[in-house]
Subunit: 348 residues, 4 copies
């Protein structure tokens, strides 16, 4: 072995913790720096007490130039203003960058600016950034230096819908994506407008950002790329009382003559080479409990005959296949490793 | 006061407990018998320990004839075979009957027999039975002697959709009802095929009975009655990790020109005289936490303009507005009481 | 009826919401003002959406003098600095005051100042304030103008221990109180030091304030009053992943010859006239689920013979018997009403 | 490498699933047979759907003789009658056996027979069986052929108390162990007497088996071995609304002069060579959330000065350090592997 790949992380929240676990459990990676300015000098075990004894490392306040010098790959998990400042020097310093955020998911800066309501400060990088959904864009990812790691909701919706649209099995109009998510997606900060206190969430469920959530254009963009046709759909995210996991149910109108058998065959074909998508026989079998803390996305689809409606479902862990696990899957591809290296079992 | 109305209950599970609470907290009712054959002679407080000190009464094994003699109104909460045997003698004995079950919800026995997969043993009573959804069928309920109390999912879906279909605001084809329910709807028995152990449900979510749930024809029947047109829709129920409450999200295609303003106005008009339906300004405000342990159903609807889709939502407590509370609301109407008597606050 | 008693509330958080429900559901009370300065003018239904349609009232910014003029009884639910400013004008204005807070629980200001780490600004009122635990101090409460409503943990611990100490059944040294509480006790504000986000609490349990919690001297004070002897004990509160409810387990050394039978008899004697304490036959039957949203405290105790240890347990709802329900029970006593008026069933 | 150690499992419930994960993620082990008679022939991924794609193996109905022939080590996870029948042929066949159950934890069969209320059918094996708590009995485990893997509660209590008793820091009389456990400890079967439905557990907490739980003599036996003196203590287990994890709080009377500093130093000394026990500075830091899905047990202890009481706490995952993780830790020791092999990170 020619030595391990050195990987650093900028940002030390919930996703950062998942990335650290992923790197520590990965046979080909070694952990470089964990940059957290407000916590610089503190031991990671003090910051993230579940990791005590797992590593001896203090949070760093290194500049992006220093991080690039010490790293082969860098994960950025910061708010957009900081991300826009970090990514150019990281790339210039020779590091590959995987950004966990919306900044580098859209080829068209105008879409970003409309939905994220702020200017895009790194437009010049968009033509080299790749949307990091390995099941759809594996070859581009292998060649990429900059990845926009997909959103958690978007991953679930795109994995459920891409085979249906790419195969021309459903009408591209009138598609509905109804998602329920656990709270790990909201991170460790209090978000009053969301309501992420225990007392807000336990025993409760409700929609938020109905029809206006930022993952809407991301889902549409990926599906358009997968199917070659524009898609405009309705996305309604909900908060559910669980720590982690997303369950997405998708409704679409079938093309004439579509059967459940053909649907399922299309899913199995589409994901024949995808190690982390498990195609199940029945929508009722797609359960959050079977995917949490793993990098799997379980999917299924069926035609409800009496109402001629396609119902598809996808379940994943928002912090793993929806964030850190998918990021490592992208790293594996970018670095020529086995796509599944360090990602089997429940290691994140 | 000419004396209280005497009300008995046959069945002592979760719904029976809610009915007991509802009767005890009701200014015009007194509790007659609580019939539970397997527990006959045991004190109710021993059977339902949360009710200790609230009443001094033992479970009874009275025959339906005896129950009818001692009661003005009887709630039946039993499996279908027993219900079919109980209801005729109760009615013959002069009692009004409110059945918490599917047996008397359908005017057409063939629908019952198809979806419940068993013969209907009381067909002769179907022409006098009334579907007990007060917001749609108040006058019929007032005159009824036998009520089929609506299902919990059905109540939520019908209350969200009836104004839209009755007002001709949405297309009757292609409607989708996506529901998430807490576990109180499954009662206090272990149901292996559902998976209602804590270890099955906590941290989990999944669909069940996709496209085949028995509430599907009930929703369609009530909506057809409300709108005068047949409706065939897709209903997908899910299990969510909470004890009580249902959140139902409905998707429908708007008629040309429909706006959120007109939608909301239609909801407010439709429910102007409905004390237990609260029309909210935004789908995002419809939250299970605001309705649990109350008889309210909160609803809202909006048009998502960019995808031209109507999204409506309804939240209720499956055991209250979805069972015992609605049953008492029906009783109030059948007995000439104020519709809200005993139902304000969180008393069930 | 000589007219209803007019009751106002200063403070509109979780406890305020419980008090509003309690007043609305009470046959002898009417709701006066709900004072919330930061929300003045907003409708209560907007502030507390579960209460929409239950009342038509806007939050008020009335001065304490105005509140006193319009009220027979006032509940104060504010931080200590505001409480110290409010209570004198309320009393001077002729209102009876029930304070939900630590300010008026201790006859000795020095105890308050030591544990609450701030000066007591109303020492002159302490000799007229009564500790509002009705099961121990009913006669004093009946005559009181100012009540210090007990803490939730303290209520559970004192109700479990008072009969044992008053009856001389256990040693007063070495008593341990181990409590687990749901999150409603922490209110609707984010408390970073406690960690009350969903992501902090779900799937987690831990102690906090081990040996230093402010309810420690309150428990000791009430038990000393009940038994006539000083008590110094160890109290460890824990956070548990539930919205409401406290389970307290108490360990004490039995006096020679004590049996479970004598223990249980002592509990039953002590609470013979207490409508809201239910003495159960077995510690294993004391369950949070049987008391939540009620004003009951379930208690039991037994001697574990092989290790000669008394184990006692108490369960209550921290917002009801631990706050608003107990406050209304105190009001009932202070106003000559039936102790249970408005408090049966699950109305809070 | 001289080839991997071949490990089989008899029993395919929750613990079996953890053992499979542990073996799959372990660099030195390979999975042999997974024996489940009622499921023989079914693929493991069908039985345990979270494991789909992780392994291609069908459940086996092999006899113990066959299992022994094909395995270096066998984990037995069955009820006692089956275990007593399985272990002799496994040992005779040359396999090492780690039993996840109470059968081989007690050197004295009479203790087993008294607390488990049934005859011990393998008394002749008790003198060679070793209690598998590596932090206390590492050398014996290394040499053992048959391990009684400790109970989950017992592991937490013993790890909190052993240093205090072995160091003579606390009185051996009057010790109290108060534990709260998640539901994974109850497995995937319905247990009516325990109440493990979601509707029983969510929003609830209560004690069970107060003073009579079978782990009581196990805790006492291990502590007597650790300290050289008999111990009789009080153990109260509780059910808490979480899927996995145990929090145990221990109360003991300190010997004269004991300080928190000395206590903590004793813990650190005692666990200096224990890779999976993390000694924390404060009881308040011991949190279930930091240990779930890991093999760590976090412990701390302090002296509450004003009441002269020692409070100690331990948190662990009942299925990992309390079952499958500890079993693999024992296997590592028995097979001469690094004690931590396959057990870092969250892999179970």
């Amino acid at each position: 072995m020619a030595g391990k790949i050195r990987v650093s992380i900028i940002g030390a929240g919930l996703v950062g913790e998942g990335l650290i676990r992923g790197i520590l459990g990965h046979p080909n990676l070694e952990l470089g720096l964990v940059v957290s300015e407000h916590a610089a000098g503190k031991s990671i075990g003090e910051l993230l007490p579940a990791l005590r004894n797992e590593l001896k490392l203090a949070a760093s306040s290194a500049t992006p130039e220093e991080v690039a010098r010490q790293s082969d790959v860098v994960f950025t998990v910061k708010k957009s203003a900081e991300t826009f400042a970090l990514v150019p020097p990281l790339l210039n310093g020779g590091a590959k960058v995987i950004d966990i955020g919306g900044e580098f998911r859209f080829a068209d800066a105008a879409v970003y600016e409309k939905w994220y309501k702020e200017p895009h400060a790194c437009k010049e990088l968009l033509n080299c950034a790749v949307y990091g959904l390995p099941e759809l864009f594996k070859e581009k990812i292998k060649a990429a230096k900059l990845i926009g790691n997909p959103g958690c909701y978007a991953t679930s919706a795109v994995l459920a819908l891409a085979p249906l649209l790419a195969g021309g099995l459903v009408e591209p109009e009138g598609i509905v994506v109804d998602s329920y998510s656990g709270l790990s997606g909201a991170g460790r900060q209090y978000k009053q407008e969301l309501g992420n206190l225990f007392i807000d969430v336990d025993g409760n469920m409700r929609a938020y950002n109905t029809g206006t959530h930022r993952h809407t254009p991301e889902i549409e963009m990926a599906l358009a790329a997968a199917s070659g046709k524009p898609v405009t759909l309705t996305f309604v995210p909900h908060i559910a009382p669980l720590s982690c996991g997303i369950l997405t149910t998708v409704f679409a109108r079938p093309k004439t003559g579509l059967t459940t058998e053909r649907l399922q065959a299309a899913l199995r074909d589409y994901y024949a080479a995808a190690p982390f998508v498990r195609v199940l026989n029945n929508v009722n079998e797609v359960a959050v409990g079977n995917v949490v803390r793993s990098n799997y996305c379980d999917v299924s689809a069926q035609v409800v005959e009496r109402s001629r409606q396609v119902v598809a479902a996808a379940a994943l862990d928002n912090l793993v296949k929806g964030a850190s696990g998918q990021a490592i899957q992208n790293l594996n591809l970018m670095c020529g490793l086995d796509e599944t290296a360090g990602l089997k079992g429940r290691s994140l």
